[in-house]
Symmetry: C2
Subunit: 386 residues, 2 copies
């Protein structure tokens, strides 16, 4: 694992627990540059609106790699120790007195959002990830004291899902149907909602419409996008810089395939796409995608790219096209995508790994994020590793 | 008047008329680099769907200056002789047998669109300016032979509105109410629709909504935008690079004013605007405008800017914001804005000029396009100049 930007890494050792806190076994990186190892973190007692659950699986997202290896930003470093993971699924073991949404024994999940203000009109609309005061990410974030629904020591960073238990306000809990394969549910809480949210916002969950939808980047996000858009009844065109992903894209449901570096291939679908979801997170040209859009079409980018992106304004004017950005999705939409995937048996391709595999998996994801398989950490492996 | 790019200017002298054509007096530039002078052009006889009208006034748009001075593109030159003008208003003098929309004696107008295919689904939706086969501009364009609703010699370029008569397919005619001040109607067919179309497309003509709308660039387009958005009941924030236009913007109806180069001024309206219409046609930074947008806000650019534009993708992601382009508007929307302006007495600020003023006005517009007054050519001045 290659860490970045040592100068901005923040060190904030785990303090002694409060009297009300209790130890939970976790797996994380204690100090910048070190390998994964078992850590003891402290979770808080269930408050009246809280849900405590035993974590069974936690998906390994590419942004976990960025967070752990201090690659998220060149300005704001990660805080160590760090326990990553924002695709948590497990079973409820305790609920607060006022919790109404779930019961002990039910399966639940938590995605990228641990908290938001729940006061602003954006939270009111169930778009917590766009909370005007900023949402609190599941891990590697400080608690926001002015609107906190997170208990425990307010000075300690939040811990993610590579751990045996978590506690969270019921607002941020996603219900997982009993008969949904639990090991496949985690990545839906991140990759799934990241693709579902723009499909929903730009009209593609209205199944009375038959749209032409492009998906750029045929990795973990892209294949999930192909599956969701196909299951919604749309014609899906996979878009990749080379021809290498053609068969993979077809096998996931793509009816068309465009090689974005080949003008002849772009010309075949030129002006045909209503919506393009672009998952590429490295700097690249947007020109071929704008060419592919119809009048009034929208190119939605999901990649966190720091360098300025360029576009040709005239090409937008000529077809009243839009370039937009989209970030995960709110809690109601996350519940929707879980329920849609359950009903339609749309699941990510996952590979279960144990804590002993973390260095290998992280190195692989850092070197090449083009795989369509989402790795999922089996929390059982904690015990086996002892 | 300073002309550009002599190498790409196209010379195509006016040929002898067809037997069916007749002479019409016009004012134009015969050869690249010359001044305006009287020209004899030929219009065609009224066909069964055509409307012939006597032109009374023609607005002088900044893009007339670009066309006449060969500044529209560095690749495709203007064709000389050139007769500019795409804000024509006048009175019907003859109609074809099958014309149903207007009668002799009624006032009418023609904007930027002389023709489109009328076959594609975009034309079907009344968005002729986004015709998938490309619309035909009112002047300085060749006729498209494969879907032509324009009569006369198919080899001759189209002539604009600095002329005494025009003939056009009734589809592209806009009806001007009898009691509308005719000299003020022309600029609505270009500046008016350019602002109305994005207001309409992005939800601001739904008067049950009260939006916060930013208008960038307080010139001819911008002041029209302020007037329209205010008349629709929205809160309008004028946005300019300096403080100089504050009083002008206020007098046209802007409730707020942001100096885009002043971070403290931007901070005052940060995250508050639902929609921003950006009329600036020179290269500039979009960052302050994105800062001003709300969650789900849209920045619509109307300026024809050839150099690549830059934006920060992360800033779009964090509020699911969009950057879009918009180009004039279709025929139904153009009729709507004329009718809205009539009903609400929203008119551009115009100054009548004669043919003797053309060099002065063109030089002024080329040197400084920041004026809020739209010049309008009084076609009566043709006679007076003789």
């Amino acid at each position: 694992m290659k860490f970045s930007s040592p100068d901005i890494a923040v060190h904030k050792p785990i303090p002694e627990p409060l009297e009300s806190e209790y130890p939970v076994k976790a797996w994380g990186v204690e100090k910048f540059g070190e390998n994964f190892k078992p850590l003891t973190i402290y979770r808080y007692q269930v408050g009246e609106y809280d849900v405590k659950f035993q974590i069974k699986f936690c998906g390994i997202c590419h942004s976990d790699v960025h967070n752990v290896l201090n690659e998220m930003s060149t300005k704001y470093g990660s805080t160590y120790p760090i326990v990553p993971g924002h695709e948590l699924v497990g079973t409820v073991v305790e609920v607060g007195d006022k919790v109404t949404r779930v019961k002990v024994g039910e399966n639940v999940g938590v995605g990228c959002i641990r908290d938001s203000c729940l006061l602003c009109d954006v939270c009111d609309r169930g778009e917590e990830c766009y909370c005007v005061r900023g949402f609190t990410h599941t891990y590697n974030t400080p608690k926001k004291k002015e609107h906190c629904h997170i208990g425990g020591n307010p000075e300690v960073q939040n811990w993610g899902g590579y751990s045996e238990f978590d506690v969270i306000h019921e607002h941020f809990i996603i219900k997982i149907p009993d008969d949904m394969p639990l090991e496949k549910a985690g990545p839906i809480l991140c990759a799934g909602i990241t693709m579902w949210s723009p499909l929903n916002h730009w009209g593609a969950t209205d199944t009375t419409k038959k749209l032409n939808i492009g998906i750029v980047g045929i990795g973990g996000l892209g294949t999930m996008g192909i599956k969701l858009a196909s299951a919604l009844g749309h014609r899906v065109v996979a878009i990749s810089s080379s021809d290498k992903k053609r068969e993979l894209a077809r096998s996931k449901g793509a009816a068309g395939y465009v090689v974005s570096n080949d003008p002849a291939s772009v010309a075949e679908e030129s002006g045909k796409l209503d919506l393009i979801l672009n998952t590429v997170s490295a700097h690249h040209s947007l020109t071929p995608y704008i060419t592919l859009l119809k009048t009034d079409g929208t190119l939605v980018n999901m990649g966190c790219i720091a360098a300025p992106m360029e576009y040709n304004q005239f090409s937008l004017l000529l077809k009243r096209a839009s370039i937009a950005g989209s970030l995960i999705g709110g809690i109601p939409a996350t519940q929707e995508v879980i329920d849609f995937c359950h009903k339609n048996e749309v699941y990510p391709d996952v590979e279960l790994v144990g804590v002993g595999d973390l260095e290998r998996v992280y190195t692989e994801l850092q070197e090449n994020n083009s795989g369509a398989v989402r790795y999922v950490l089996d929390i059982k492996s904690f015990e086996e590793s002892e």
